[in-house]
Symmetry: C2
Subunit: 235 residues, 2 copies
């Protein structure tokens, strides 16, 4: 029996009309899928309903994949793919496998020689980077910064140094309710000439994207509280 | 007078139906643009004609931005935006500003306080990463490897080491006609246990994406000659 395909399905970021950020092919593929591995079942149900108001959501099988999912459970998630069914893998926002636990299922698919097909959709990291005007020939995404203040300062200085010595722009993020705090720290810790790009609520009607030097941002900052944001720096 | 907006317009990668990888919003925005800054005028004309067969291509103003464009020319590229016109910035493939000279225009837009709006489309780098199953919480894109053989080997070893010590997956690319050569080198230089993901002709009908250890790839490689490819490694 021929194995099914693992489709990587993008998800809107924030309150965006799907057609603004999701190509037609994603509509077509998801219409015919009835098994989804998802980070958050409630969010995914709502999203699929938005894409396909006519689709019977109760006939869809959802398998949850988040920090509570054990490796043993994940081992069983591709069973129906081996029986010829296609499966969709979906994050809560953006692309599965970036800053979410989706990569473990993709890795398993490769081990089982299952075909993996990534579909195009919004990535806040990539959109922030291209809109920053900073170096897109060489860049790194560093996920979340350490929680501890001293480690966080050390990490920021290390990223700033690397962005200078390797000409590699450095991307990172923060939990939205701590955004104002991290922004304050950035302006204190980084050199005045370092360029800092702030991209908040990307792809929504309240999108904010600006790149300035640390000196220019000082005493002139946006309120980022609870607004999902991506930061890019280049010294 | 209100300034115009700089829209970052994605471009298909390879021979793909636009609807497979381009959201409706990109069709809508480009329909109303009549100034484009592009990497390659011929490619861009063809792409716009594909998106909008009814649009009069001869009324579009194209400004070329590639390695032959001087910084002085670029300084003038946003003139019409300051007069209230919207401009589209477009790469030859994928997103402008990634592995192309587009970032210089975006940086200029920020200096002039021009609004920058990134639109969603295919990025071979991002699609290769999510489809690799390798670490998407922490990754770096390193562009092209050095041309000199000794420098290239040193760079590969450095990237492999960093992928191990920092758990940062490392992405890079090669000119398509040298792909088989670099693949051969990867299998010689990297450790047998290092995971190597090969993603070729992403988003097209001949897409090839597989992740295996260097040991598993050895004596079992695809022909990558002239097939645009992205490599991701994780030790």
């Amino acid at each position: 029996m021929q194995k099914g395909t693992l489709f990587l399905i993008p998800h809107t970021i924030g309150d965006t009309r799907p057609g603004d950020v999701i190509p037609q092919k994603v509509f077509d593929v998801t219409l015919n899928l009835d098994v989804f591995i998802v980070e958050n079942i409630r969010t995914s149900r709502r999203f699929i309903r938005k894409l396909h108001p006519e689709k019977n959501i109760d006939e869809i099988q959802f398998l949850e994949l988040n920090k509570h999912t054990s490796p043993e459970q994940i081992q069983n998630y591709l069973q129906s793919i081996e029986q010829g069914k296609n499966i969709g893998l979906m994050s809560e926002a953006g692309n599965p496998g970036i800053a979410d636990p989706g990569a473990s299922v993709v890795a398993l698919a490769h081990q089982k020689a299952v075909r993996v097909v990534p579909l195009v959709g919004p990535s806040s990291i990539l959109l922030a980077l291209i809109a920053s005007g900073l170096n897109g020939q060489n860049f790194a995404f560093n996920g979340y910064l350490p929680l501890d203040n001293q480690e966080r300062i050390a990490k920021l200085k290390q990223l700033e140094m690397r962005s200078k010595t390797e000409e590699q722009s450095q991307i990172f993020m923060e939990t939205p309710f701590r955004n104002n705090q991290i922004l304050e720290m950035l302006l204190k810790v980084l050199q005045k000439s370092t360029l800092l790009s702030i991209a908040a609520e990307i792809s929504t009607d309240t999108e904010f994207i600006q790149t300035k030097s640390v000196a220019q941002w000082t005493n002139n900052t946006p309120d980022l509280n609870k607004r999902p944001a991506i930061f890019v720096i280049q010294a």
